[in-house]
Amino acid sequence: MIDEKAITEFIYREAELLDTMQWQDWLDLFHPEGRYWMPLEWQQQDPVLQPSLMYEDLLLLKVRVERLAGERTFSQKPKSRCHHLLQAPRIVACDPEAGVVKTRTSYIYTETRGDNLERYSGWASHDLLEVGGAIKIKLKRVDLVNFDAPFGNIQLFM
């Protein structure tokens, strides 16, 4: 059974994979039905019938990852890099029998490309599932503190 330490390690590991651009390993953390969601409204409930910045399944996440490496992906010449600074994840719900855990992690995210650097703050909420002894992401929800501000390109993952 997964314990608090394993969950915390998992969240840190996820951020590390993103910071080191190990995209395929990052995708492997997702459950086959997993989703990555960036809401556009305060305390948004519905990802589909309310506007979102992103609501993507594995197919779409794969497209993003593959695009990043594409020969004709001009918005990645030069490449973007990112940095996650995480507060300790907090377990907000836990059902060990069902293997379901929900966590919330406060973060500061930096994305840089060329001479530009942009910084974002928010909360990452993970719905995690234990599948055959491994932890998988069912839903990663990223709520920016200023979700409604007009950003420039955000090309990587928070």
Binding site: L40, E41, Q50, S52, L59, F74, S75, N153
Partner: protein
């Protein structure tokens, strides 16, 4: 620098028949003149009447860079005014939308105004007795934008006191808005969602031009749409149904021939649209029940007419684009010569199935968001152009594709869909609306 101010000839010389001078994109003075002349002379989108459902509801907007607001008055009428207190200039409304109750109240000195903008009360009014206040513009309350037209719930305003009438300005181009509204079985749209906002470090006209640029998708979007198609082919397995996401991305990769035959229609005053015969929106999967609703509402023939008109991008000069088939309006709001705020709105087709709204919202976040891969492709090109145009090696931008040497201006025509004629059409209108009051205004100042 005062190269262009009050110099209609110099402005007109920036636009040749099939080329434009780079100063239209990079020169701060030209940008200032656009704010002073072009935007006040045009009919500019302010908002949608569904955002003003109840008396006291208001929205804020900008025309060029000028803050304006629109409100629903107690008698149901809609009014547009400049968003500044007549006293010291403080903005009356600071939020994108809200409800003010029975009156607006300036937070600085508590001057208050009825929801039609007229002055309601000033504290300690006796201080103005014998002060000649009645003769000032302040006595009229919030300064009104007098030229306002609400067309099928779309609120447009023209700041200039004189100029081209709404009907003459838009003419037949309003057919795209008609088609979008008609796609609701009740003939009604509703704004239910906040817009997706996306900051662009480029001139606003680059975005407008790109709306009818059909020779870039298969090139610039190979990285996004092309990858989506590739990944889907690899991953689809024995799946028989194409996911909505792939239906939306896939057509971007259509070949030149597709865009050539789908056509472009131009209208006078800089308006025009891609996707005349068909468009990248033509082959989306049918949504169960929708056609039946439309047939019940409009009859068999009219329903098919409405749904058979699947235009791609309609540019309403100067700075909005409307997609009737997916119910999206993009507002390209100029901030500086090299900075543009893009707000992309989705309208819900009232009484239509949820699935259509879901698709419109999905399209909006796929294409128009700061997190959208198609958006990344485009913005990269605009930013590179904004930088590249600083080069003195060649000071002209080439718009000559399918130019035949003798184009009539301000006409309606349907042409090959890869033509750059709509861009030429826009720049002809640009020069016209920039200069139409230029000489006059200089004389008035003397």
């Amino acid at each position: 620098m005062n190269k262009y101010g009050g110099n209609a000839e110099a402005i007109a010389a920036l636009v040749r028949e099939a080329e434009v001078h780079r100063d239209v994109y990079v020169d701060p003075e030209v940008f200032e003149l656009e704010m002073e002349h072009l935007f006040p002379n045009g009919w500019i989108y302010v908002g949608h009447a569904s955002q003003l459902a109840k008396p006291g509801d208001f929205i804020t907007a900008t025309i060029g860079r000028q803050p304006v607001m629109a409100s629903r008055h107690t008698d149901g009428s809609i009014h547009v005014f400049y968003n500044r207190c007549p006293h010291k200039g403080v903005k009356i409304a600071s939020e994108p939308c809200g409800n003010t109750g029975k009156f607006f109240r300036c937070p600085y000195h508590a001057w208050s105004f009825k929801t039609d903008g007229s002055l309601l009360a000033i504290p300690l009014k006796k201080g103005y007795e014998g002060a000649g206040f009645g003769d000032t513009q302040a006595n009229e309350g919030l300064s009104k934008v007098r030229n306002v037209v609400i067309y099928r719930d779309f609120i447009f305003a023209r700041l200039s006191a004189s100029g081209v009438s709404f009907e003459d300005y838009f003419g037949e181009s309003l057919s795209t808005i008609d088609n979008m509204v008609d796609r609701s079985p009740e003939g009604k749209l509703a704004v239910m969602a906040t817009p997706i906002r996306y900051m662009h470090t480029c001139n606003w006209k680059m975005l407008v031009e790109n709306q009818t640029d059909t020779c870039h998708p298969m090139v610039a979007h190979e990285s996004s749409a092309g990858t989506a198609v590739k990944v889907w082919k690899r991953e689809q397995g024995d799946s028989t149904e194409t996911p909505m996401a792939v239906q939306l991305y896939g057509p971007f990769m259509s070949p030149y021939e597709f865009y050539e035959q789908s056509g472009i229609r131009i209208w006078p005053n800089g308006h025009g649209h891609t996707g005349v015969a068909n468009s990248i929106h033509s082959n989306y999967q049918d949504v169960p029940g929708y056609l039946d609703q439309m047939v019940a509402a409009y009859g068999e023939q009219r329903a098919h007419e409405i749904l058979g008109e699947v235009r791609h991008n309609t540019v309403y000069f100067p700075n909005i684009m409307v997609k009737g088939a997916v119910q999206i309006l993009r507002n390209f709001i100029p901030v500086a010569v090299d900075k543009t705020l893009v707000e992309s709105w989705v309208y819900r087709l009232v009484a239509a199935p949820d699935k259509l709204y879901e698709r419109a919202l999905m399209y909006n976040r796929f294409i128009n968001a700061p997190t959208s891969i198609v958006g990344h492709d485009d913005l990269e090109m605009y930013e590179r152009a904004q930088e590249g145009l600083k080069s003195n090696g060649n000071q002209w931008v080439n718009l000559r594709r399918l130019y035949d040497g003798h184009e009539e201006q301000d006409v309606t025509a349907v042409i090959n869909g890869t033509s750059e004629r709509q861009m030429r059409n826009q720049f002809h209108a640009w020069a016209k609306f920039m200069t139409m009051d230029m000489d006059k205004r200089v004389e008035a100042a003397e």
